[in-house]
Symmetry: C2
Subunit: 350 residues, 2 copies
DNA sequence: CTGTTAGCGCATTCAT
DNA sequence: ATGAATGCGCTAACAG
């Protein structure tokens, strides 16, 4: 029996909701679809003349390219997946903004996922992004589950790790040493004459950056105050908030009353503690000194202002974006690891 | 001349980088690709038996579905585009986190864009997302350029506007009235006995929410203090920061020395002003009272604590996500506009 | 510089 | 419940 293919296809055929396609533009401009494609993706490979005709046709038809089709045909999605512990943590938000600022103008769009500081969730989120075939990955931290590392490697696209340091990055690295930052802080405090520093903060199991800072405290203590017992006052769950800092302050003073300076894992609890000191009538830095990490805007505005460590948050995002772009465009990146460093901000609180 | 099609195609043919496809899974499981497709998207339409075989094959082959192909074939991208003024503004970050929490578990991924509070950039960002054909849009605010509104309408997908109010939303609305919030604040302050309220803040041309709050101040003034001149102390550019609040405080006191309470456009400048008052020795609320907007965590921790208006930031994101899901799944949404309201937080600063 | 041809991987339609 | 055929819209490869 003959096959009335076209008839069969005509009825009940897939709705072409995508309205106007490249073919329509081509027809309008009197060229082939391929020429339209070229005119849009590499305008210089087409004559002034035809380019103009195509541009007019694009406007006339109100053409919107379909990136899914482009992706399928070219095997490039022009997307980057960014995975961070928490979106509402303003510190990472800055980084994402920097990343987006760099990538959007180049036509790359950002998929965003968050992990709540849980390594298993990080792996799950990465996995969930795989089907989108992003052209690049941006992740926070340098420690991940085996599964997460494998996924990132198998993706065979550039990966930027960030916000921490390692000698063996998966691919690219834009970060700094949280450990050294805290060591620097302890040394500074020792030089200032403090004798019994404590470390306090929220260090959740998956928050390796905070753990590094704690380790930095330990290292520096054995170097600056050999033999002295460590005073580590940490909670391993809960949000990183001002309020948590206030609570930590109280319990710390009960647990380690001899403390003369507290290094907090983040500016948030540090600021919370500083504000609590005012309420409790504790003189800072006279009675108790306080140091933070991150240099949030609040740190400089508090009174006394907060001694802390500044990190080029937004710059991390911008730099990561630039490295990704380079790498995604096939250029080789000579400096695969970039140390953006940190800066001690000596202020009044310590 | 004969056409050696296959031969020609064989050489230099497109690299199939996408590795393992549904066909490979099908082969492994001894079924057709369609059955695999069904087993993955609607498991209940396939026998236990075959489902299991397919699941095994998926694992064995390490299959990762290609969403671009799925998108192209089904005309559903399973993505949502979220466009916010600023990512690093923690207040919107919370909303995005709420949105993501709702959408990710349902398989929808989030494209993120930011506008820097510029309507023209909002339009540009929306346009840049069109080619991705998101299944839904989430935007901040209810005022947009004509072009932006047209783009959103032409997309023919659910759109949630948020963080403000209007009687004529594009589609769905999850917000509250910034104007009423500020009116409520002024009324409260009037009841508390304040006589000469000022409004201060950063109101950038594209920040219609802040402008609404200023309008709310004007309305309430003419109702609560008829005949009294308005004291509006606004800068129209710059970042919304603590520091800006400190500067505004100083200039405001020069411009309107009779002010007894300042309502700020946001908690950030309000908090900055509050902290500046401590430095300058201005008694709050005795000498000057201060009110904010947003109920940032800092508001409750400051001393004196900041009187402000709380908004269910994260809840806006969650609700928007739920409405989008419903609408994207083709269910009709009965309540297209949801007023999440606001809550006056009477604290010590006013 | 431009056109022709084929196929990216999947879901939809229809048949069985 | 499963299979076969078709096309979604675009770009890679090649020819001219």
């Amino acid at each position: 029996m003959t096959k009335p293919i076209r008839l069969r296809a005509k009825r009940g055929t897939r709705r072409k909701l995508s309205s106007v396609t490249m073919m329509d533009v081509a027809a309008q401009a009197g060229v082939s679809a391929q020429t339209v494609s070229r005119a849009l993706s590499a305008p210089e490979t087409v004559t002034q003349e035809t380019r103009k005709r195509i541009e007019d046709a694009v406007r006339a038809t109100n053409y919107v390219p379909n990136f899914a089709a482009s992706h399928l045909a070219s095997n490039r999605s022009r997307t980057v997946a960014a995975i961070i512990p928490s979106i509402s943590s303003s510190i990472f938000a800055e980084t994402i903004q920097g990343l987006n600022e760099t990538l959007l103008p180049k036509g790359y769009q950002l998929f965003l996922g968050h992990t709540d500081y849980r390594p298993d969730r990080e792996e799950a989120v990465i996995k969930s992004f795989m089907g989108r075939k992003p052209d690049g990955f941006f992740v926070i931290g340098t420690r991940h589950t085996r599964g997460a590392v494998n996924l990132l490697k198998q993706a065979r696209v550039p990966v930027v790790e960030s916000w921490d340091w390692t000698s063996r990055p998966i691919d690219l690295l834009v970060g700094f040493s949280n450990r050294m930052a805290t060591e620097t802080m302890v040394s500074y405090l020792a030089n200032r004459g403090y004798q019994r520093p404590s470390f306090a903060g929220i260090v959740r199991p998956g928050d390796y950056r905070a753990a590094e800072r704690r380790d930095g405290y330990e290292n520096a203590m054995s170097r600056c105050f050999p033999g002295q017992p460590l005073r580590i006052h940490i909670v391993s769950d809960g949000e990183v908030t001002l309020h948590a800092g206030a609570e930590l302050l109280t319990s710390l003073r009960a647990a380690h009353p001899d403390t003369d300076v507290v290094i907090f894992s983040s500016d948030l609890p540090a600021s919370g503690a500083l504000l609590a000191c005012r309420r409790l009538g504790i003189d800072v830095p006279g009675e108790l000194a306080i140091a933070g990490f991150g240099d949030y805007e609040l740190a400089a505005e508090l009174q006394p202002s907060l001694t802390t460590v500044a990190v080029p948050t937004k710059e991390i995002g911008r730099l990561a974006g630039r490295l990704l772009l380079k790498s995604m465009q096939g250029e080789s990146v000579d400096e695969k690891s970039v140390d953006v460093g940190f800066e001690l901000k000596a202020r009044e609180s310590a």
